[in-house]
Amino acid sequence: MKYETFEDLYSYEALNIAKNILKDGESVTITKNKNKNIIDISSENPDKIFKELMNEALNQQCRIDISKKNFKVSQMIITKALVSALGEEPKSKKRGRK
């Protein structure tokens, strides 16, 4: 059974992550076609798997969206944590004109 979703609603990345999390993920094939993603499910109960896939894809898409939105603060926290653990000062970028 084939299903279609729009790329601007559920990205190819979110769908693929969802596929890998799903128990029945092996029966799912996702292909990108311009602004759409084609989901092919080869199973006895494709509707059930499609619903589970889209439920997880929604979770992943929201996560991807919030990661983009909070990118700056998120990077600052992670960099601070890792650099402190390493015991190194972050290399300062040289600014200004040469």
Binding site: D65, I66, N70, S74, L82, A85, L86
Partner: protein, 491 residues
């Protein structure tokens, strides 16, 4: 340089320029929090006035200002100092170093996470050379305080390595400016006076498991060779007595502590479990829910429970503990202490699971008996099941290589609450954390799906219970006493 156009400001008299707030409704109150960890409890009218009318009483306005909720009146010195205190772990490396000195154990606990093996299987004993290499790596950490925790299996089965590693740590401490804590988690079944004296002389804090009254404890902690409960109580009394009667010693003897793991059999006995701790002169109880890891995951249908059942147990327990406190009995609950320290004192309690990012590799490191190094003890257990995805190196690697490993970085990214859409706007964001290992074990996904996560439901529920109890003045007095205690509770 181009100058920015000033934003459109609300110039109405008494209007408030609110920062980004997070809120949660608990019964008839609204808890609002901000990034600095400040909170306010508002009633429905105050909340509506603040959000919809943007106008509040002068008293509330002052409170909002003093707690950093108003953009135009921010005391940056105070706010930054508070943020830095509550996120102090971001400024140094791993402080908790867990040495799994053997997997041998004589107990067969129903919820065991540590993948213990039979006592004759000494192939899982950590050689002293690996223990020393692990200690060497730990001393490279940038943390000013290091805690070494000896675990198993039953660590006392590999006494030679444990005792030599303790001596080695104390030797290294002499040439280091770090503060060193050492603890051991034992079921006491092979404890003797010689071992006990060595541990006390080397200032090792002793931690055991006590699941409640004899019948319940022995049902959870199966020990066929003797009575697990009686062994535990015998040695708890011994260490308590040594602690209480220490005089003119050149070393400090710590009060022993005990962990309680709540199985589904425990849920009916909150009073009995707490009374058991009071009876044995233990003034802190740590009511830990089961984690779906290791043996417990396989046995989940028999011993597991849902978040709702645990939260009912936790609420009843906390209410009972508060009622005992009101009668003058000294007993505290460790999860509540950790959360209250964050909420009231902006103090990181050292609990690496409730951090952002979580402590995997950057707050704690687990050294397995064979020299393999994991992000944490839970990550090691996943490795034992055959999926080594939380391994960050071996004792042959350098400290920097371990911290720089892709796994450490991945755990930091996936446990960053700013990357979690439910957490980033949750009212409890300033005090909470996610665990990639539990996400992976329970949901087959290190990012997790917090909407359906039982761990998330448990912590949300515990926060709700604590904030609800904080509305009562008498409870607040008790809670303040719990977090005023300057002595660190070692578990």
């Amino acid at each position: 340089m181009t100058s920015k156009k000033p934003g459109k400001k609300n110039t109405a008299k008494n209007s408030l320029d609110l920062i980004n707030i997070r809120w949660r409704k608990i019964k008839n109150k609204f808890i609002i929090t901000n990034d600095f960890g400040y909170y306010l409890s508002l009633n429905q009218k105050e909340f509506n006035d603040l959000i919809y009318k943007n106008k509040v009483s002068e008293k509330l306005k002052e409170e909002l200002i003093s707690k950093g909720f108003i953009k135009t009146h921010m005391d940056f010195d105070d706010l930054f100092s508070r943020w830095k205190n509550s996120n102090s772990y971001l400024f140094w490396g791993p402080s908790l170093h867990i040495l799994v000195t053997t997997l041998r154990c004589n107990h067969k606990c129903v919820y065991c996470q540590s993948q213990a093996v039979g006592i004759s299987n000494d192939k899982t004993d950590m050689p002293t050379s690996i223990a020393k290499k692990s200690v060497d790596i730990a001393f490279y950490s940038t943390a000013p305080v290091l805690t070494f925790e000896f675990q198993g299996g039953e660590p006392l089965y590999n006494w030679e390595t444990v005792s030599k590693a303790i001596k080695y740590i104390r030797e290294k401490e002499k040439n280091s400016d770090k503060k060193i804590n050492i603890s051991i988690v034992s079921n006491f079944s092979v404890m003797d006076e010689k071992k006990a004296n060595f541990l006390m002389e080397n200032e090792v804090s002793i931690c055991t498991s006590l699941d409640g009254p004899e019948k319940l404890h022995n049902k959870n902690r199966i020990y066929t060779q003797a009575n697990s409960y009686r062994e535990t109580i015998k040695w708890l009394k011994y260490f308590n007595s040594m602690h209480d009667n220490q005089t003119n010693l050149s070393y400090r003897i710590f009060k022993p502590s005990a962990l309680t793991t709540i199985s589904c059999d425990s849920l009916k006995y909150h009073k009995e479990i707490i009374d058991e701790f009071v009876k044995n002169d233990l003034n802190t109880i740590f009511l830990r829910p089961l984690s779906p890891i290791g043996f417990a995951k396989k046995m989940w249908n028999k011993i597991g429970y849902d978040s709702k059942s645990f939260l009912k147990f936790y609420k009843d327990s906390l209410n009972y503990i508060l009622s005992l406190n009101k009668k003058g009995i000294d007993i505290k609950e460790k999860t509540a202490i950790m959360l209250l320290n964050k909420i009231l004192n902006a103090k990181d309690s050292g609990f690496v699971d409730l951090r952002c990012p979580c402590g995997a590799g950057i707050g704690q490191v687990a050294y397995n008996h064979n020299g393999e190094i994991y992000t944490c003890d839970e990550g090691r257990m996943v490795g034992w099941e055959g999926e080594d995805i939380f391994k960050i190196g071996t004792v042959k690697d350098s400290y920097k290589k371990i911290i720089n490993s892709l796994t450490t970085k991945t755990c930091a990214i996936t446990s960053n609450l700013e990357n979690q859409f439910t957490c980033s706007r949750c009212a409890y964001r300033p005090y909470c954390g996610v665990c990639p290992v539990i996400n992976y074990e329970a949901q087959n996904n290190i990012w997790g799906n917090n909407i359906s996560s039982e761990r998330c439901k448990i912590f949300m529920g515990i926060f709700d219970i604590i904030f609800e109890l904080m509305e009562d003045k008498k409870n607040m007095e008790i809670f303040n006493l719990w977090v005023e205690d300057k002595k660190e509770i070692t578990v």
